[in-house]
Symmetry: C2
Subunit: 456 residues, 2 copies
C-alpha cells in the first residue's frame, strides 16, 4: 500500500499536475486522459479542472468515464459553475453523468440552471429518474428536502437478522456510504434504525424488529438546513431520516451534508457581520465591487446622518476645539463595545436555535457589562481630557458621554439582533457596520450636546 | 414505537421536566431518580443537569448508573465545568464513570482539572487505563492526538471476510459507533480500511487483504485540529485514522469530533474579528467584563493616538470647522471598507488551509476594489461637501482623502491577516477593531493634512 503522508489540500503539486494534464488533453486520447487522473480523489480532480479554461474543461469531462466525471463535477466549487460544463457536454454524455450521481447531488448540480436548460436536461433522462429529480427540485435548496438523498437502505420489520443482511447486500450495491439500515412497516413508515454494526453483531435468527432503535430524531422535508445541522450536531448523528407528516420515509441526510451546511453558514455569519452580502470567498474584484458598493452607499447615508449632528454643533466645536479630537474616541470606543456585544449575541442565537432560553436576560447582561466597562473607560478618558484640556468640567462631559455611549452600545449590540431573530430575520444582518453608525451618532450627540450644555 | 416529532433542542419542556426532577431528587431514591431520566438522550439530560444547582448536580450524578452519568457529563457545556462535578463525587463512583467513557472523552473531561486533582483521579483507576489516559493527556488539546479516541476495530490482513466479521463482532462490543474496520499488519501498521458495508456485502471466503482500501488520508497525532477538520470535510470522511511516523495505528477521529471543532472554530473566528478573546458564549457579565475590558483599554490607547492627530490639527479645524463634520465620514467609511476586506480574506484563509494559492494576489484584488469603491464614494461625498461647504477646493480635499483611505483600508484589510497567517499567527486576530483604528488614523491624517495644505 502507499504509506500516504497526510495531504493537506492536494493543491501543492497542482502546477506540475496541471502541465502534465494539459499535454495529455492536447493529445485528445480519451484512454490516456482517463488513465492520467485515475489515481485522483474526486476533490483533487475537481481542483485540477477548476484550473483549466472553459473549453479544456469540457474536453476533459467528455473524455472521462461518466462515473469519474460526475463525481468531480459535484466536488467543484459552486462559484466555478460546474453546471455550465454539464450543459456544454453532448446530450448522451450529460444524461449518463446525471444518472451516475446520487439524486441529491444531481439536483444540486442542475438547480442553478435556468428553467429551459434544466427542462432540456431532464427530458434526456429516463422518465423515472427525471421524476425523482423533479420531486427533489420542489424542495427549497436550504431545506432538509433539498439536502437529502432518496437513496437509502430500508428493510421490512418482519425479517430476521440474517435475512436483513441479505437484503442490505442487495440494496447496498446501489447506495453510496450508508451507516444505518432503516426499518419500515408495510406502508414504508419509519419504525427506526438498526446500526450496521449491531446488525452484524446480532444473532442471525433474531428478528430485526427486536434490534430496532427508535429514531433519535426525524426531520420533515421543510425543515431549515441550519436546524437540521444543529440537530445532527447535538445528537452526534451520522445520518438522520427524512419523513413525511404521516411517518413515510422519503430520504436521509448524512453528516457530510451537515459539515457543508456548517461551513456555508459560518461564511454567511462572518460576512453579514462585516456588511458583506452575497459575496463569494474567491470572487473577482468586479464581483466584489458590485456586491459591496451598494452597502457602502447605504452606510454613507447613515454616516452623513451622524456627520450632520457634528455640523449642527459647529459653533460648539469652534469654541472648544478639543471636542473635535475627543469625538472619535467616544464614537470609536462605543463602536468597539457594540461590536463585541453583537458578536456574542449573534453567536449565542446561532448555537441555541429557535428555542433560545433567557432571551432578554442577554440584553440585561450586556447593559450591565456596558455600565461597568463604560465607567472604567470613561473615567480614564476623562482624566486624560482634564490633563490635556485643563479644566474639570471637560472631564465631566467626557465621562458622561463615554459612559452613556458604551451603555447604549451594549444595549444596541444585543437588543437589535435578538429583535431581528424574533421577527424571523437573520440576526447577523445587524452587522457591526450598522451598530458602529449607531454608536457614532450617539457618541457625537452625547459629547457635543453635553459639551454645549455644560461646558459653554 | 414513538412517532417522535422533530425535536429542535429538547429545551422547550425543560421547566416542567426540571420541576419533576427536583421532586424526585429530593426523595433521595436512586432507583426513582434513574427511572425518571431513563428516556432522555445524554444531550437532553446534560441540559437538565445544567439547570440544577451545584449540590443537586452531585446528588443527581451520584444516583445515576455510571454509564448514564458519564455520557451526560460529556455532553455538558465546557463552561458549566462538568469536571468539578466529577471531582465532587465519591472516589469509587468517579473512577467507575471514567472507566465507562471512551478514552478521548475521559481525557477531555479531566484535562481542565488542576494537576493534583487529576493525579488523584488517575490514581483511582486501574493501572492500564490510567496509563492510556496519561498518554492521551500528553497531546495538545487542539491536536489530532487530543481529539482522537484509541478505541477502534482493527483486524489483521490475513483473515477471510467471514473471520473478519467474527473479529469485528468480538471487538465491536467494546467500541462505540464504528464505521470503518481498520486493517493492520503484524506490527499493527495501518494497511487501510474496509468499510463495514463492503465487509457485509463481500463473499465470506474472500481474504480481507483483497477488500482493503488504502486510507484516503491519515493524520499524525501532532496535526492541528483545524487541519484535521478541513481534511475530513474535504474528503467527506466519516472517520480518519491517526498513525505514528512509522505507520503504527494509534487512534481514530470521527465526524462528530470534527463537527464540534468546526463549531468551536466558527465561534473563535467571529469573536476574534469582533475583538473578543477567550469569552464564553453563555458567560456571566463579570466574565465578560474581565475578558473585554483589557482589549478595550488597548483600543483606547490606539483611539487616543488617532485623536492626537486631530488635536495636532486644532487650528486647521478652527479655521474650517466643516472638516470636523466630514472627519467621521471619511474615517467611518474606511473602517467599513476595511472590515469587508478583512472578513473576505480571513474566511478565504480559513477555507484554503496552509497551502493557500495566489496568496498575494488577494491584496492586489482588494486594492483594486478599494480604488474603484473609493473613487465612487469619494466623488459623491466631495459633491455633497461642495454643496454644503460652498467651495470647490473642499471637494478636492474630500475626494482625495476618501479615495486614499478606502484604498488603504483594502490594503490593510487583506495584507495584515495574510501576513499574520504567514507568520503562524491566527489571522482573525487582525480584528476589525484594529483595522478600524488604523483607518481612523489614516482618514484623519489625510483629511486634515490635505485640508491644511490645500484649503487654508
Amino acid at each position: 500500500m502507499s504509506q500516504s503522508a497526510p495531504r493537506e489540500t492536494g493543491k501543492r503539486d497542482n502546477a506540475e499536475a496541471l502541465a502534465r494534464l494539459r499535454e495529455v488533453l492536447a493529445s485528445g486520447d480519451e484512454a490516456r486522459i482517463a488513465a492520467s487522473v485515475a489515481a485522483f480523489h474526486p476533490s483533487d480532480l475537481a481542483d485540477l479542472i477548476e484550473s483549466l479554461g472553459d473549453d479544456e474543461r469540457v474536453a476533459m469531462l467528455s473524455a472521462l468515464p461518466a462515473g469519474v466525471a460526475s463525481e468531480a463535477l459535484v466536488e467543484m466549487e459552486e462559484e466555478e459553475h460546474p453546471e455550465e460544463i454539464l450543459v456544454a457536454l453532448a446530450p448522451r454524455k450529460r444524461a449518463e453523468l446525471l444518472q451516475q450521481l446520487p439524486a441529491d447531488d444531481a439536483v444540486d448540480l442542475i438547480a442553478d440552471l435556468d428553467p429551459e436548460e434544466r427542462a432540456q436536461l431532464l427530458a434526456e433522462l429516463p422518465v423515472e429518474e427525471a421524476g425523482e429529480l423533479r420531486d427533489l427540485l420542489l424542495y427549497g435548496e436550504d431545506t432538509a428536502g433539498g439536502l437529502m438523498t432518496t437513496e437509502l437502505v430500508a428493510v421490512p420489520h418482519h425479517l430476521k437478522a440474517a435475512q436483513a443482511i441479505g437484503e442490505v447486500r442487495r440494496q447496498g450495491r446501489e447506495v453510496e456510504a450508508f451507516y444505518n439500515v432503516f426499518v419500515v412497516d408495510e406502508q414504508r413508515r419509519l419504525l427506526g434504525t438498526v446500526p450496521l454494526d449491531d446488525l452484524i453483531l446480532a444473532d442471525p435468527e433474531r428478528p430485526v424488529a427486536e434490534l430496532v432503535v427508535p429514531p433519535l430524531a426525524t426531520v420533515l422535508p421543510s425543515m431549515d438546513q441550519e436546524e437540521v445541522g444543529r440537530l445532527m450536531s447535538r445528537y452526534n448523528l451520522v445520518s438522520v431520516p427524512v419523513v413525511l407528516e404521516g411517518g413515510r420515509l422519503v430520504g436521509r441526510i448524512t453528516f457530510d451534508d451537515v459539515i457543508d451546511v456548517l461551513e456555508e453558514e459560518q461564511t454567511e455569519d462572518i460576512f453579514r457581520l462585516a456588511g458583506l452580502y452575497e459575496e463569494e470567498v474567491r470572487g473577482e474584484w468586479s464581483d466584489a465591487v458590485r456586491g459591496r458598493l451598494p452597502w457602502l452607499f447605504l452606510n454613507l447615508l447613515t454616516a452623513i446622518l451622524a456627520a450632520s449632528v457634528v455640523y449642527l454643533f459647529s459653533s460648539t466645536i469652534q469654541q472648544a476645539v478639543i471636542l473635535a479630537a475627543i469625538m472619535p474616541i467616544i464614537a470609536g470606543m462605543g463602536g468597539n463595545a457594540g461590536t463585541q456585544a453583537l458578536a456574542v449575541t449573534v453567536r449565542r442565537i446561532a448555537l441555541s436555535g429557535k428555542a433560545m432560553p433567557g432571551r432578554w436576560r442577554v440584553v440585561v447582561k450586556e447593559v450591565v457589562v456596558g455600565m461597568v466597562n463604560g465607567a472604567a473607560l470613561g473615567a480614564l478618558t476623562a482624566a486624560l481630557s482634564v490633563v490635556v484640556g485643563g479644566h474639570a468640567t471637560l472631564g465631566l462631559v467626557v465621562l458622561l458621554a463615554m459612559w452613556g455611549n458604551i451603555l447604549v452600545a451594549g444595549f444596541a449590540g444585543s437588543f437589535v439582533p435578538l429583535l431581528l431573530d424574533r421577527l424571523g430575520i437573520d440576526p447577523a444582518v445587524a452587522s457591526s457596520i450598522f451598530v458602529t453608525t449607531f454608536t457614532d451618532l450617539c457618541g457625537f450627540l452625547l459629547l457635543l450636546g453635553l459639551g454645549s450644555a455644560i461646558l459653554l
